[in-house]
Amino acid sequence: MANRETGNVLARFNVGDRVRVKDLPNLFYSRTQMYVRGVSGVIASRTYQSLVPEDEAWNRDEAQPQQFYIVRFRQKDLWEEYPFDNDTLQTELPEGWLEPATD
């Protein structure tokens, strides 16, 4: 997986990479939905760099910005017994919540 520089921080993932959402504990404030945690998807788009909401909510401006990505999940991977093969869901996640998928 090639690192490519966009903005100020190195972006670890590229479009098409398979990633898994980490299942981290909530530190008071997070915008990472429960339903994607632990689930694997594909990077659909690399978006912008920003403070993560966990830092932004506490006005920790000195924290390091992170690369954000839009990740595409198959609905069948998100929900047990989801009946339609083609359906997908996309949502945006900061890099710190993602790791390379092994499945």
């Binding site: 530190l27 008071f28 404030y29 915008r31 909510a57 506490w58 006005n59």
Partner: protein
Amino acid sequence: MSAQHRPSSAAPTASQGPKAPIRLLEDIRRAGKTWAELAPRWGVSEPDPPWKTSLHATCECLSAAAVLPVLERRRAEDELGETLYCGTPAPEQQLLALAHTMLTRGLLSEEELARRIKEVRTRLVAS
């Protein structure tokens, strides 16, 4: 991360907790005329009350100033909208939830809000 870094750390003034009814707002909820009642009576077809954009602006300003972040306000609106204010139509429900949240977070006190409501009413009747 300590609790004092939380965006809204003001102690609740409503001793019964953030979801307990607040008498001042209960009176308004029960007796207040909603836009859905008033508009047809006056032959007005506007779907929303004129104060709605001002309410939205108040919410934006509180959020911009990090006094009441969007996500926390929305969570409170959801919780109160499904409980205390569930029978009240949308813009009035949002207003009650905002006032409720500001009271329980100590941003306003019930006494000063009650006093101000009287003053505003007197002013509007006179105008």
